[in-house]
């Protein structure tokens, strides 16, 4: 029952007359305040005792404290990083930022892929096709029953079985797959590409605006102006034109085997891929069940009623069934997103350098375990709260507004 059910003016009329606070145990308000002060004081005292005692014990054991180590030169090697890193110059602070970015890299992509795969499998389990329904059921039951760590080690071992760089599997001589990872060619980035990208962005905004205008026009007059010619012009012709005017630069950096490994292009490491694969496949087992339960929660009568109104099947799904299913799906889905993010800390087992891996190395080299753990906790808390906030906002947006 939501707040909107009762008129707030009525509540104030009905509430009991205010009595002055008496300093007596028989006054429930006084009792409530006393208990709150006692509990709050107790918690504060415990926290103070823990902090004070810990710092005294650390000092007596000659263990260094403080966050000064964040500014010291790290010297630790890092295998893959989204930003530049030189162990000779960069600090532990930057190393930890790389760890955070690596964690985000696997979590964000993992969440997206797990949602897509989970949705497909969840729908597949409801399929009338016997084989499809059985296969997806088998997937869910197997994947959910095996520990994630085991699955990660399994995928990592499989990827290690790929051929050495010298015998790499090649796709058209530009993409190479070996036990060093998947080597992909990259575009040599030039300023013309920046401009093209900007034009594409502007085109997208323009298309959105035109589409909105078309919708308003349709609502007002019943006539819908064509959207596709404008979209084509703004999204394809405009960026292509700007790219052509700026000289149409188009140079690939193609990986080539030199020495021990491929040089050039970009690399998806087996560690990253094994972690992503493991997390996505494992989490999809759970999201599939959430999606299935969400769709099944919508009564079949809804389909029939909407059909009776003459709506098309696609419209029924989009405007009637899905909004109701999402309300069931979103809250447990949030938990799965949080789980996936936190499970990414298992990366240490297979050598992907996520936040926990780098923070652990840092706390080992500096010896400052408490600070290191505090950093890990703060980062996970921030990421998890951000996911929760976003999902709660989204949930509130799609929630059934009761009157």
């Amino acid at each position: 029952m939501s707040q909107a059910t009762i008129d707030s003016r009525l509540i104030s009329d009905r509430s009991a007359p205010r009595r002055p606070l008496r300093l007596s145990w028989s006054d429930p308000r006084f009792r409530a305040i006393v208990w709150q002060v006692v509990i709050l004081g107790g918690v504060a005292a415990i926290v103070w005792y823990l902090i004070d005692n810990t710092s005294r014990n650390l000092a007596s054991r000659h263990i260094a404290t403080g966050f000064g180590f964040l500014g010291r030169t790290a010297g630790i090697p890092i295998g893959e990083s989204l930003i530049s890193y030189n162990p000779a110059l960069d600090t532990y602070g930057r190393a930890l930022v790389i760890g955070v970015l690596n964690t985000l890299k696997v979590s964000v992509i993992g969440v997206v892929l797990a949602t897509i795969l989970g949705t497909l499998i969840g729908i597949g389990r409801l399929s009338k096709n016997w084989l499809m329904a059985r296969l997806t059921a088998f997937y869910v039951e197997t994947i959910r029953d095996l520990p994630l760590l085991l699955q990660l080690l399994f995928w990592y071992t499989i990827l290690q079985g790929l051929p050495a760089p010298r015998n790499a599997l090649s796709i058209g001589g530009v993409v190479y797959l070996s036990n060093r990872g998947l080597k992909l060619p990259t575009l040599n980035w030039e300023s013309a590409h920046d401009a093209t990208l900007l034009a594409l962005l502007a085109g997208a905004v323009g298309t959105w605006w035109w589409n909105r205008r078309a919708r308003l026009r349709q609502e007002a007059t019943g006539e819908r102006p064509a959207v596709w010619p404008v979209a084509l012009a703004l999204l394809v012709a405009l960026p292509a034109g700007i790219w052509a005017i700026l000289g149409a630069p188009f140079q690939w950096d193609i990986p080539a085997l030199r020495g021990f490994n491929f040089q050039g292009g970009t690399n998806i490491s087996p560690e990253y891929f094994a972690l992503l694969l493991g997390l996505v496949i494992y989490t999809a087992g759970y999201t599939a069940e959430i999606v299935r339960s969400g769709i099944q929660a919508v009564a079949h009568g809804q389909w029939e009623a909407a059909g009776a109104l003459g709506l098309k099947r696609g419209h029924i799904l989009r405007h009637i069934v899905l909004p109701q299913a999402l309300r069931v799906i979103i809250p447990p889905m949030t938990s799965q997103y949080l789980n996936l993010t936190k499970n990414s800390s298992l990366a240490v087992a297979i050598g992907y350098q996520d936040l926990v891996s780098i923070a652990n190395t840092t706390l080992n080299q500096t010896g400052q375990a408490i600070e290191g753990i505090a950093v890990i906790m703060a980062v996970y808390l921030t990421i998890s709260l951000s996911i929760s906030l976003f999902m709660n906002w989204y949930n509130a947006r799609i929630a059934l507004v009761e009157r």
Partner: protein, 342 residues
Amino acid sequence: MRRFLRAAALIVFAGLVGAPVIHAQGSGSTTLDATIKRGQLLCGVAGTTPGFSLPDSQGVMQGLDADGCRLVAAAVLGDANKVKFVPTTTQNRFTALQSGEIDLLVRGTTWTLAREGNLGLMFAWVIYYDGTGFLVKKATGVKSAKELDGATVCVAPGSTTELAVADYFRLNNMKFTPILIQDITEIRGAFLSGRCDAYSTDASALATFRFSQGPKADELLLLPDIISKEPLGPVVRKGDDKWFDVVRWAFAASITAEEKGITAANVDSFMESKDPDVRRLLGAESDMGKALGLDNKFAYNIVRQLGPIGEMWDKSITPMGVPRGINNIWTKGGLQYAPPLR
């Protein structure tokens, strides 16, 4: 994850249990008292390194590190078998020692300034003068570490190796891709499967790992380059000086015994020796043991049960095909030199 929990547990431990431990430290050495009262030495080892600490087919921990634990147990408790071996990883070993989970850490741990300065640890002795090396597959054709430019190198995280390798490649203006895996079985698997071109850790561990491969050992090559100094030794907590003394002099006694030619087999015949050094060592005269809070026969107990350090070496390291070299005693051209027991 387990390491994470352990470190988290340390926080709670330091906060909750720390206070009584500190208060009890008035009675000389808490660690020594606790070990004697318990009748067992809690000793942290790797438990995964052939030649240093690895359980044999009977489940008995074997190797130089394991015998280092036994040596201290023999000195303190009179019985080399009164040791409980606690397996530790490179990352949780210091936490285990700092929090009091173990009395002593003998885990191929390198003596460095930062570890004594920042971690609240003290290195009591050097059991093994080691250095960082590289192991490669012969098939790669690499003959020297200088040829490793662009290579992928498997390293254990949280170790001095990690820093030494980064320094070496930086110094020689070469590039490398590190693969950092904590679990030793996993990292060795990654090297053997070809995920890494080279596996780097202490040369001693590389030699014993190569040996443990049996017939396939010939496919692996230990590069001649030793890129760092890695003195490995037993570690104790700071703040318990008497315990530090006990550990240090237990090892010194073992080396003195080798200098004097005493072995496990002939130690009884030395009890009648006229040499004052030998008499002091074996407890026939003076109160050397009492000064440490031990039995005067502590050195006798060590040598009788384990032999001098040379015998421990011959039992664990020689079969791995590693020459003793600089790890010999000083009279035979090595670095092992014990201060006088007097």
